[in-house]
Amino acid sequence: MREFMHHITNAFYGATGWNDDNTYKELNATARELIDFPVPRGLRLTLSSLATPHFATSYQLGSVGIVDGSISYLHSTVPLTDIAAQSDRIPLPALLRSYRRLHDLGSRESSQRQPGKDGTTTEPPSHGSVSAACWSLGKNGSSLLYGRLYLPQSLLEGLVVRRFTPALQVQLSAVSERSLRNGGTLLGLVQYDKGKYGVEGLASTDGGLLGIRGLYNFGGDCSSAAMPPASITNSAQNNGNVQLGGERERIYGRFSAGGEVYYGTLNKSGGMSLGARFATLPAHRGTPLTATLTINPLMGNINATYAVLAKDYCSLATRMEFNVYSYESEWAVGMELWSNRRPAGFLLGALPSNQPERDPEPPRRNERSFQAKMEWRLDDPKPEPKAPKTEATLAATENMEEYRGVLKARLDQNLRVGLLWEGRVKSLIFSLGTGVDLRKLGEPFRSLGLEVQYSS
């Protein structure tokens, strides 16, 4: 589960029109979140509130043997009016969905794109309009201040995000704790996002680490400059228009390649890696998929991931790692399964596919997909299918709004299983997780945790 403050920060990015995914750091975010999702430990309660559109607070109380907690505050100069912050209204996929669809690169002009496919109904509209409004309103840019104090260990976290120009954003994060060397660390991050490419430079006081990383997008929607900003309707029309011609060769996906270099000026050590990704565009009609390959030439590490949104309610991911120097290899698989049964998912057993509730739904969907297929085959563009299609998507989003729970699972080569069940009960969002070691069947449960979040 993404924390409330994380959600609000994402909302801030959305409101200011910043594409947080267009960095090299997030290259394999989909597979990482599908496989390496954090499993809660102990009991953790979070009370959060977006008190005003500018100000949010969050209090957390946890107990893993000892009781600890944290207080956090967030202030944004951009009003976050459209954000659903109440835990009974907050769209679950925004908090829980792992599979990340690609954002449109030219999203600053385009205001409309695939509403609510991933449930983030509020964000996409805000992307263009709000940011445009924001930029028209204040020239001095928007900023976000965030602070968090962990109480017994008196650890202080601070984050400042400031947009200078639409393409330039600076992040400053700091941690202060007694046990750290020099009492704390500071990390500065300069992000430059031009849509087609994004470059980040970073500097850390810890070890004097300097780094630069960049991501370059090509292919798909970026390759042809003549192509209008991608949208479902456009691509559908394109589909229909030039089907057998050049459109046959069009790839409904985007390639990204990037690299990172780090050097610690104080400890004279460094590191680097190269990576590439292929991800289908939202316009793609088939199964959305994301494949990445990262290589660390210094350490001889090769890492390949493959994630697929098999159905709307099911995504899968695999990861393979191999080291050419030490011949060590690793694999892991992850799965995410959504359900809209009443008590937060799976308690009543049946999978969403054979649910009576959804019975009115599938025919339409079938019809829609069938029509799409028909469209695919037939040359003539029909104006009629569009109306039912949008209806269908709306219905689908409504349906998705009803998702009440998600089950996440992972398995790695050490036969360690992580299970996480997240969902909503009344107006509480909960997350129940456990780690199981299949090698030690005598005492299989390595950890158990429950997280409950309430926000208003």
Partner: protein, 542 residues
């Protein structure tokens, strides 16, 4: 008496190496490892080699069936080796990130991917040279302290020998770690192991020790001293004792205040257990501060009694000086010559007390069998050669002074009390004598303790002789008297009775000589005092 140190049986035991390897492996993996080490540290090979260490006995401070204390010099340059195996993280960025808070982590995508490398480290050609102080008692277990840094050199070879930088780093780090281990942790480990072996109940009791320490504050004058004697070695009758302790009055109470006694017992216990922290009482002048020219360390007889010397002026009643009586012999003190005579003439028995005077009759052979060096048998005479032994001792920073427990058979916890009852023996005659000479002569104070020594060491002999006839005065109520008597009897009985008699006679003669010399000195003070220089600064009352 013979010491047998066998090197080969240790290695001949088939299960020994396996056991030792397991022990080392668990010991190495107990503490949290640095992030660079990603796997367990496994001891794959361990061999003590075939070359035994050279062990040289510098001094035996105390020897009994249940106690031993000695100083050894150990040199080792054998073929022992140790091989460790583990896996290390080769990516510096990975280890860098592991210790940092995640909030400010730069979150590299794949630059921090791990690369683990198996690492094998072999430690060989270990050269050790150490002075070891070994204290063993059945009650307190075995304590080993290295007086110096034992590690001379060491060869570290690893998988990365071809890389100069890594090799140097490993060599440096491992040497440092090993030094720490030898100096700090090894004594503790050995002590704990020995406690488990000999007195498992002691481990549980360790927290109760402070309670025992409280008892040290008992006024020694409250209980009459054992075998009380006066300055000349004559046995005092109980009435005189009571008089003494009474006229000690508040002064004595001041002298033996609870706090002072606690501190004194701390100091003496610090030497018994070789504990590294010695409490520092206030207003104390140590002889070592007097300057190097006054102290001739190589000549220091180790068998000497630390004396509680009270400074001349009662005004500064809290100024004590700790000095070992023997080492005062070569000082520039006025009455020294007489003592030197005494020491040499009476074959050191005035200091050596019963055991050594007994040993002085016979030549005893001390065999240290270290298998290969069988020919290096250390033949040493025992009686008056205490200074000989001492001369082999290298000059150390502190004078080695076994303390009066040597003569007192009691266990450690009560020993300090008994010692104080003894030192009260010293005090009482001293004070009485002090008035006498101080009237006619201006005898500086340091002469006093020396006079005190000779008679004071006699009563133990006399009492051991007397024991057959009269039962000893039971003063130490913490100890069952019969066990003490048994102990006292056991040593004389082991020898022939003629030896006892001879010994007793010698003791008596020595006492007589000492007394005559003293009387002579008192009668003719100018003769003794003409060499009277200023007392060394350490003894000047401030």
């Amino acid at each position: 008496m013979a010491f047998n140190f066998n090197w080969s049986p240790l290695t001949a035991d088939a299960g020994f190496y396996k056991r030792a390897r397991d022990l080392l492996t668990t010991a190495l993996n107990k503490s949290p490892k640095p992030p660079i080490i990603v796997d367990d540290i496994i001891v794959t090979e361990f061999n003590l080699g075939s070359v035994p260490p050279d062990l040289e006995i510098l001094e035996i401070g105390d020897l009994a069936e249940d106690r031993f204390r000695g100083i050894f010099k150990m040199c080792y340059s054998g073929d022992a080796f140790l091989t460790l195996k583990t896996r290390v993280q080769a990516n510096p960025l990975n280890t860098y990130l592991s210790a940092k808070p995640s909030f400010t982590s730069p979150q590299p995508l794949a630059a921090a991917s791990s690369l683990t490398i198996p690492l094998q480290i072999t430690l060989s050609e270990i050269k050790l040279s150490a002075f070891i102080i070994l204290v063993f008692s059945k009650q307190k277990g075995l304590t080993i302290v290295f007086r110096n840094d034992p590690l001379e050199s060491l060869k570290v070879s690893s998988t990365f020998d071809s890389i100069q930088f890594v090799r140097d780093y490993l060599q440096r780090t491992i040497e440092g770690k090993l030094r720490d281990l030898m100096m700090d942790e090894l004594p503790a480990i050995i002590h704990r192991l020995s406690l488990q072996l000999w007195c498992p109940d002691q481990i549980v009791k360790e927290d109760e020790e402070p309670k025992e320490a409280d008892e040290h504050g008992v006024n020694p004058l409250a209980t009459p001293p054992q075998d009380p004697v006066d300055l000349h070695g004559h046995v005092l009758d109980p009435a005189a004792i009571s008089e003494l302790s009474l006229d000690g009055g508040p002064e004595a109470q001041l002298l033996f205040s609870q706090k002072t006694l606690l501190r004194l017992s701390d100091i003496t216990n610090a030497q018994v257990t070789s504990s590294l922290d010695t409490s520092a009482p206030k207003d104390v002048l140590f002889r070592a501060w007097a300057g190097p020219d006054k102290v001739d360390a190589t000549n220091t007889p180790p068998l000497s009694t630390p004396n509680l010397v009270r400074s001349s002026s009662y005004a500064s009643a809290h100024t004590y000086t700790f000095s070992d009586g023997g080492s005062q012999d070569h000082g520039s003190l006025p009455s020294r010559p007489s003592m030197v005579h005494l020491n040499s003439a009476t074959a050191g028995l005035s200091l050596g007390a019963g055991r050594h005077s007994k040993a002085g009759r016979k030549k005893k052979t001390r065999v240290v069998n270290l298998r290969r060096k069988a020919e290096t048998e250390v033949n040493s005479e025992q009686g008056d050669e205490s200074s000989e032994i001492a001369s082999t001792a290298p000059p150390m920073s502190e004078p080695v002074m076994p303390h009066p427990i040597l003569e007192v058979p009691e266990e450690e916890p009560v020993s300090s009390r008994v010692r104080f009852s003894r030192s009260s023996d010293l005090q009482q005659p001293r004070r009485s004598s002090m008035r006498e000479p101080s009237k006619n002569t201006d005898v500086p104070i340091p002469s006093v303790p020396i006079n005190g020594i000779a008679p004071a060491s006699q009563p133990t002999v006399q009492s051991s002789e007397k024991q057959a006839i009269t039962s000893p005065a039971p003063i130490a109520d913490a100890i069952p008297t019969d066990s003490k008597a048994e102990w006292r009897r056991s040593r004389p009985m082991s020898d022939t009775s003629s030896v006892i008699l001879e010994q007793a006679w010698i003791m008596k003669m020595a006492g007589e000589i000492a007394r005559r010399v003293y009387d002579e000195k008192n009668r003719n003070p100018s003769f003794w005092d003409d060499r009277d220089d200023a007392p060394p600064p350490a003894y000047e009352a401030r």
